[in-house]
Each structure stands twice: as C-alpha cells, then as structure tokens.
C-alpha cells in the first residue's frame, strides 16, 4: 500500500508542473464558470473568446497569444485561487473573465497587486466604477446600475405609471431594483425581493394580481428565469400585464424558452447595451461566426462582452507594439480603445468602464429562431453614475 502511495506522488506532482514552452507567447488568463448550471453563460463566453481569437488570427500586435481557461465553480475562494495560479504558475500577462461580483471581489485585488491588467467581462460591481477604480482595472461590460436605469427610462417612454418590481434578495438583485427606481418616474406599487433558494412565486404573483400594476419589472437571470416565466403564464398574468426584464431573457436562455414553448415571452421588452442584430460589420461577423462555433445559437450579451474584452486587450497590445509586458503602453492603448467593438465604436471613461448606448429590445421569432431585436435607443452614451467618484 505504501509503495503505491510513493509511486503515485510524483505522478500527481507531474500534473501540476507547468508547461515549459516557448516563453514568448502572450498569455491571457480567463476565469469563468464552467461547472454548475451557471456554466451556460461560461460556455457561451468561452466560445466567444475563441471566436475573437480566430478573428485576431491568434495574434496580438503581431505576437502569438494563448488563452488559459479556469473554472471558478461559482465560488469566490476558488476564483481567487485560480487567479493566483494563473499569475504565479502560468505567468499570464492579462486576467479576464469574472462573471460574478463576489468572485471578482476576491480575485481582482490579487491581480492588481501583481501589477497585471484586469478586464472584467461581466461583473459590474459598482465601487470599481467609483471609489475603488484602479489604473489597471478595466470593465468591458457595464456597471450594475446602468442597465436597470435604462430600463427605468424605457418604462417612462412606454407610459408605464404603476410598476410592480420583482427581484432577488442578493446584492445584484438589489442593485437592479435601485437602478430602476433611480430613473423610473411613475409609482412603484409593490416590490418583492425573494430569497435565492426560491423557485415558487405563488405568493408574490398573487400580490401582483392584487396590486393591478400596468407593468411588471423582473430581474430573474439564469435558472430563475424559466421557473418564474412559466409561473407568470400559469397565473394568467401574461394576458393582462406587460412584462419588462433585465438580464433575464437573452441569448443564453432563449433557446431553452423556445424549447419549452414559452410563447408569452414573445413581444416582451428588455434593455441592454447590445443586441445580436445591432447593425455594424463587426457584430454581423461575430454573430455569424459564433453560430458556427456554438450549436448555431445566437450569442448572448455575455458572449458579446467576452469578445469585446479580448479585442480591448488586443488593441492595447497592438498600441504597445506587441510588447505585452509594457503595462503602461498597453494601458494607454486600452484607454484609447482603438478597435471595432460589436457595439460599434465606444469610449471608456477614466474609470475604464464603457460609455455606451442602451437599446430597447423586443423578443421576436425570426426565421424560426427566437432572439432579441433592437427597437430603438433608450439612452445614449451613458456613463456609470458614480464615475466622478473615481480619482484616476
């Protein structure tokens, strides 16, 4: 028995030995969720990074680069550990990915302390756009309050006067509600923030019915979405009250909704900084190539953000003449953001968050495939409200 243990030890150490390769490749470490049900988002993002890599021809600024993917298992301590591993063992030049605010909260300081440039491809934790901004911290997605603020404006535009708000009782859920309430001018006739283990909205839907609002706003991402929307229809509310959502109906779960025949979602509105049919050349190419890489599906915003993250990094490296180790030059290049994003051309604020438009999108059935389609701009060149708290 002891003999077997002694033999197994070097074997297991070998698994941990780094690949000693041509050390000149630029390395991008990517921490996303590839296990648990939330891997739906992570897998789309991985495909999008790969599409971006293909479009770049595997090179940034003329130098070859490679991507190293790690799974955070939806846990902040694991995300942090993988971040440390990417920095110390794989010696990456950039860190990106980071779907969740708590994973990012644990991991970003590590990367920033090590002098690496960090690009969040999703987590939009507000303090990082304000007081906690950092010269090496970039966000290629949005700040948490932006999208719901756009939704508030959309609700005003569509004449909603009495709103019922439904969300989840955790940080992001509360920030969504705060965002909507910031811009919505009508009356909030009811509000329910349900606990995260919650999957049955019978009580809340009964309250919605009693409150008789002329619009319902929801934030039910991931697996809460299918459960909630099913029950909304079962309660008969889809016939009487229009549904508005953020982050709940998108490219990642529309295939599921279509499969489960949730027809009542067709015609509902949501807001986002992008849609797959946004009319520019980069986006068209991205959407087409994404479908080829990923089961013929339309990309979600997670994928769009991932694509833009890699392109942003590439733009920085290009400006530095391929020298990824010259962090100052790369940073300046990233701040200029001289690249074609799937959103068109965007600028970044001094807090390194995008200043971008938000669009109204309608859920439609186009050529037998359910997708979200642009229906006008809700707000132009929106910057996070706490941007001036950033002392950069």
């Amino acid at each position: 028995m002891l003999k077997k243990l002694i033999l197994a030890a070097p074997l297991s150490v070998m698994l941990l030995v780094p690949n000693v390769e041509a050390a000149e490749k630029i390395k991008v470490g990517i921490v996303i969720t590839l296990t648990t049900p939330a891997s739906i988002m992570g897998k789309q993002m991985k495909a999008a990074y790969e599409v971006a890599s293909d479009h770049l021809g595997g090179k940034m600024g003329g130098k070859e680069f490679e991507m190293i993917f790690e799974d955070d298992g939806l846990k902040p301590n694991i995300g942090k550990q993988k971040t440390e591993k990417l920095i110390k063992k794989d010696k990456v030049d950039f860190l990106t990915g980071y779907i969740w605010s708590h994973v990012m909260g644990a991991s970003a300081p590590v990367a920033l302390k090590a002098g690496k440039i960090f690009v969040s491809s999703n987590a939009g934790h507000s303090p990082y756009a304000g007081k906690m901004c950092h010269k090496n911290f970039f966000n290629a997605a949005w700040e948490n309050s932006q999208n719901p603020m756009a939704m508030g404006s959309l609700l005003n535009q569509r004449g909603v006067k009495n709103l019922y708000v439904l969300s989840l009782n955790y940080a992001a859920g509360k920030q969504m509600v705060a965002g909507v309430e910031r811009t919505f001018k009508g009356k909030v006739v009811g509000k329910d923030l349900v606990p995260m283990a919650h999957k049955d909205w019978s009580a809340e839907l009964a309250k919605v019915k009693a409150a008789k609002p002329d619009g319902v706003f929801v934030f039910y991402p991931g697996s809460w979405g299918p459960a909630f929307f099913t029950q909304y229809k079962q309660a008969g509310l889809n016939k009487t009250i229009p549904l508005y959502s953020v982050f709940s109906v998108d490219g990642a779960n529309l295939p599921v909704f279509q499969k489960r025949k949730m027809d009542h979602l067709l015609g509902t509105y949501n807001t986002m900084f992008w849609a797959p049919d946004l009319d520019n050349a980069t986006n068209k190419r991205f959407v087409a190539d994404f479908a080829k890489k990923y089961k013929g599906q339309k990309p979600s915003h997670y994928a769009a953000q991932a694509y833009d993250s890699l392109m942003l990094i590439a733009a920085g490296v290009k400006a530095a003449g391929g020298d990824a180790k010259n962090t100052d030059a790369v940073r300046k290049g990233m701040e200029k953001a001289d690249f074609d994003s799937v959103r068109g051309r965007i600028k970044f604020g001094k807090n390194h968050f995008p200043i971008q438009n938000f669009y109204a999108r309608e859920v439609v059935n186009k050529n037998g495939q359910w997708q979200v389609s642009v229906r006008g701009t809700v707000v132009k060149n929106h910057a996070p409200v706490m941007s001036n708290e950033c002392k950069l």
Binding site: P37, T230, A235
Partner: protein, 307 residues
Amino acid sequence: MNYILLAEQIFNGFQLGIILFLLAAGLTLVFGIMDLVNLAHGTLYMFGAFFAATFVELTGSLVLGMILALPAMLVAGILLEVIVLRTLYERDHLDQVLATFGLIIFFNELFLVVWGPEGSGINLPPYLSGLITLPGGITVPEYRMVIIVSGIVIALLLYFLVSKTRIGMLIRAGASNREMVGALGINIKLLFTLVFGLGAVLAGFAGMIITPITQAESGMGESILILAFVVIVIGGIGSIKGAFIAAMLTGLIDTMGRSFIDVALLPFMDAVSAETAGPAISSMLIYILMAIILAIKPSGLFPPKGA
C-alpha cells in the same frame, strides 16, 4: 385587508405544504423505521423531476409521462438502497450523513452532465393551464389545484396504508420499536427495502409534480431537503401524521411570512428597512419555529408512541 389575496395565499401555503409533506413523509418513514439519515432524499426528488421530464418528452403526454416515471422511481430507489444504503444501516448517523452527502455530490454532477446545465422542464397541456375561479373572486391556477388535490389523495392513501393494512402495522411497529419487529421474525430486510422504495416514490412524485411549475435542475433537491428535515423534526420523527401537520404549518408560515411580513413590519420601521428586514426574517421564520419546538418539546409535536 384584501381577503381575496389572503385566501389565495392560504391556497399557496397549502400547496407548498403538500409538496413538503410528500418529501417529509418518505423521509420520516425512512428515518423512523430504518434509523437512516438520508441526505440524498432531495436527490430522489430530483430523480423524479428529470425522469418525468424525459418520459413526458418521449411520450408527448404529461399524464403518461408521469405515470411511467413512478415505477422508474421505485426501481431507482430500490437500486440505491440495495447497492449503497443497505451498508449504512449498521453505521452511526455520522457515517450515514457523510456517505449520503457523497451521493448528493455525485448525482448532482451526473444529472448536470447527462441533462446539461440548462436542466429540463415539463410543459403543461392546455387543459391544465387555466385558472379556476372560486366564489368571492379568488383565482387559483388549475395546476396548483391539481397538486393540492393529488397531495390530499396521497395523504389519505398513506393514512389508509399505515393504519389499516398489515404492512402499515409493521411500519408503525418498526417506527416504535425496531428490534422487537425483528425479534418477531419479520423479514426486516424486505420491509426496509419496501419502505425505502415507498419513500423514493413519494419524493419522486413530489419532484415530478412540481416540475411544470419550477423546472428541473441539478441541485434542486438540497434547499427543499433542509425544509423537509425541519418539517419532520417539528412533526416528530417517524410520524406520518406529524409530517402532515408540520408540513402544512411550515407551508403556511413560509408563504404568509413572505407575503405579509414586510407589511407587518411597517408600524415598527421605515419602508426601506422593512423591505430589507422582511425577506430576511421570513427566510429565518421556519428555523426559529424549529428551534422553539426543539427547546420545548424535543421529540416533536406528534412523535410515534414509544419513541
């Protein structure tokens, strides 16, 4: 006071209670008779959900799919018992907790791999998708009424089984005094397998019947499992009657809490604080109730006699 809303919330509380009862009944039997702490009971709930979803998809019929899933649950339960759980009867509770914890980890991953991260769902046929209007303007979704009714039917069947049949007598005897039953020459092994199978079918049925509402996903068993344990502790381990009453109580308290606590807090604090405190308190209510019961009557509200 909106009486329609109150009435509808009471129905909702009943429906949650029914689901909890189905889970708790199996759990309390298994624990009471076999002295087995089965953390993987929630996994059986998940089995039912996914099996039913698959059968419904294959047959195209909700009813047929669910009917086929029931024997599948029985087989799965028996297999699990024979292969893994049987070895645990002799062990102490810690071993049972750990081994069944390992089962949870394994099966959550297996279902994720086989059915994919997006999970699965069951669509309701049109004849079950409507609303029932009761006198007074109270509306209840048809399907939820179906759940309540089937749950009551099963509760009655279980009651009949446990109090009026010979098997039921053995079950009650086993819950009160296991050694005696063995000493009287009853085939304990067979009894245990049957009881576990019954528990598995009940849990599986709860899982499949709730799926058209909440969908099937990996890990769906764990959060409701904790509630089920709370229910059997409150009701008294080994007692079906206790499980029923405790389940209904829990369902009502949880639903009422979620619906009305933030309003009830308004006289004591401002709206913003009530908004935050409300959900926090309502999620803790059930545990507070359990703590109180354990402090006052540690064996639960209706423990089986001789326990």
